[in-house]
């Protein structure tokens, strides 16, 4: 009941925007290659569902594959940076600087390195995009631990390994998950942008380009809708995992979301 009440305003606003969009396009008789009507988009979404969901699945595989590679590498480097000061002082400034680089710019290079026809080339673009926020946030989580908790563990003569598993890793979880939520959105963006640079046709990026080139804008919009649904589902999944992994966190407490 409270849940319904919470989401009701957003639901009403969403329907109102769609209605306004539909109405304005009809009233001013805007051509569909300028701006498609929601009803046209929905019609295309239903009609082409087989093609766009198959393309969506392929894009999703690239995004998830890249996300996994990027997250694994990011966490591994973060653990190394926590363990060895040399890694932290030598590598982190470079990594921070590198993260400012617009990474999609390397997509054509990745396409060459890892074969443009292989999904691996798109995964590599995604993994590079995902790597930096995950790594930097995880390092922060692992190192910016409440010093009194470290002192507590030292007073109990805990070994470094026990401090890592007992304090640093649990304390880093909130940082890790906030990075993972950002990364899951970036992964989908990265995959689609990498697809724009060429490769197999049965993916969202290429489908959108092709339909747009043919002035089939409702089809392009329908594919964008698929991408959005996948993106939202992705985010919700990560949030669910977060909830299961750290039920203790402040953000999970009853009423904390209001």
């Amino acid at each position: 009941m409270t849940r319904l009440r919470r989401y009701l305003p957003a639901g009403i606003a969403f329907v109102a925007i769609l209605a306004l969009w539909e109405g304005l396009v009809r009233v001013f008789d805007v051509q569909s290659f300028v701006l498609a009507r929601p009803s046209e988009i929905m019609a295309s979404f239903v009609e082409t569902s087989e093609v766009i969901w198959s393309a969506g699945l392929n894009t999703l595989i690239e995004a998830v594959g890249g996300l996994v590679i990027g997250v694994v590498l990011g966490v591994a480097v973060a653990l190394a940076a926590t363990r060895w000061v040399g890694v932290r002082t030598g590598l982190l400034p470079i990594a921070t600087a590198a993260s400012a680089m617009p990474i999609v710019a390397v997509a054509p290079i990745m396409n060459q390195w890892f074969t443009i026809t292989s999904p691996l080339s798109k995964m590599m673009v995604v993994s590079v995009i995902v790597f930096f926020p995950v790594m930097i946030n995880t390092v922060r989580g692992l190192t910016e631990v409440d010093p009194s908790q470290i002192e507590l563990m030292e007073s109990l003569a805990a070994e470094p390994r026990q401090i890592l598993t007992g304090v640093r890793i649990p304390a880093a979880m909130p940082y890790f998950f906030s990075a993972l939520k950002v990364a899951s959105a970036l992964a989908l963006i990265g995959a689609i942008v990498a697809e724009y640079f060429g490769g197999p046709q049965d993916v969202l990026g290429q489908y959108i380009i092709n339909r747009a080139n043919l002035f089939q804008f409702p089809d392009a919009w329908a594919a964008i809708l698929v991408a959005s649904i996948i993106g939202i589902a992705f985010y919700l999944l990560v949030s669910l995992i977060e909830r299961l992994v750290m039920p203790w966190h402040v953000s999970m407490r009853a009423g904390a979301e209001r």
Binding site: S148, Q149, E151, L152, M153, L156, G166, V167
Partner: protein, 281 residues
Amino acid sequence: MTIGTTTGRTTGTAAAVEAGGLGKVFEGSGSERVVALQNIDLTVTPGEFVSLIGPSGCGKSTLLRLIGGLLAPTSGSLLVNGKTPHQARLDRDYGMVFQQATLLEWRSVRRNVELPLELIDTPRPERVTRAAAMLDLVELTEFADHQPWQLSGGMQQRVAIARALALDPSLLLMDEPFGALDEMTRERMQQEVLQIWTRTGKTVVFVTHSIPEAVFLSSRVVVMSPRPGRIEQIIEVGLGPQRDDDTREDQRFFEVITEVREALRRPDRPTGGERLREASS
């Protein structure tokens, strides 16, 4: 480390804490040097309750951390149960309670108390029994499955005390444990700590900046002064082991409070010479 070479086990009736000419200098960047402690002589006998009191910067927390083996002294000798503090720490000879309860928020109350036992790989059944006994001691049994944030500040600090006692250490080191609590809670906690002390016979070293707290709890009050941190005077409280709310209205209680206050007010004097003045009453 430049301190005593004795690393052996407790021999006979070793003092709980034995400090001689103990000093600690923090080397800052460049030529910055902070003399945190200078020439500390202090003996704590087993089962004693000793408070360290003094203004901020007098090194009382530093002294506690030296005793706990969390910091290394730069001069003098220091033995805990006849061992180096480092060895005493590895032997889990002491439990520590900080100003903040420092509970791990991802663990339930029960599992926070179990933490020290987990670190030494105590089997689960024993861990559960031990944690239950400790929670019973601090009267928090029904909160065992709560999360730390669901507890009040005073209750959190009681969990921290239960955790410190989980390994049955001979020495309890407490660093302003009630500093963040309101006055009412504070007095109740003092009563509880006294009960735990009489029931368990632990040696307690207790850092505080509250004069009534130090006097109410301690067998002896060590008054310290800053820049450099040193012992100004050691005052025997002499209120007997049984203390309750009536003690707070006892004539002797006020006398000792006055004595501690005067020792704290004494103006800074150059170090060396006579540091331990007789109590002038």
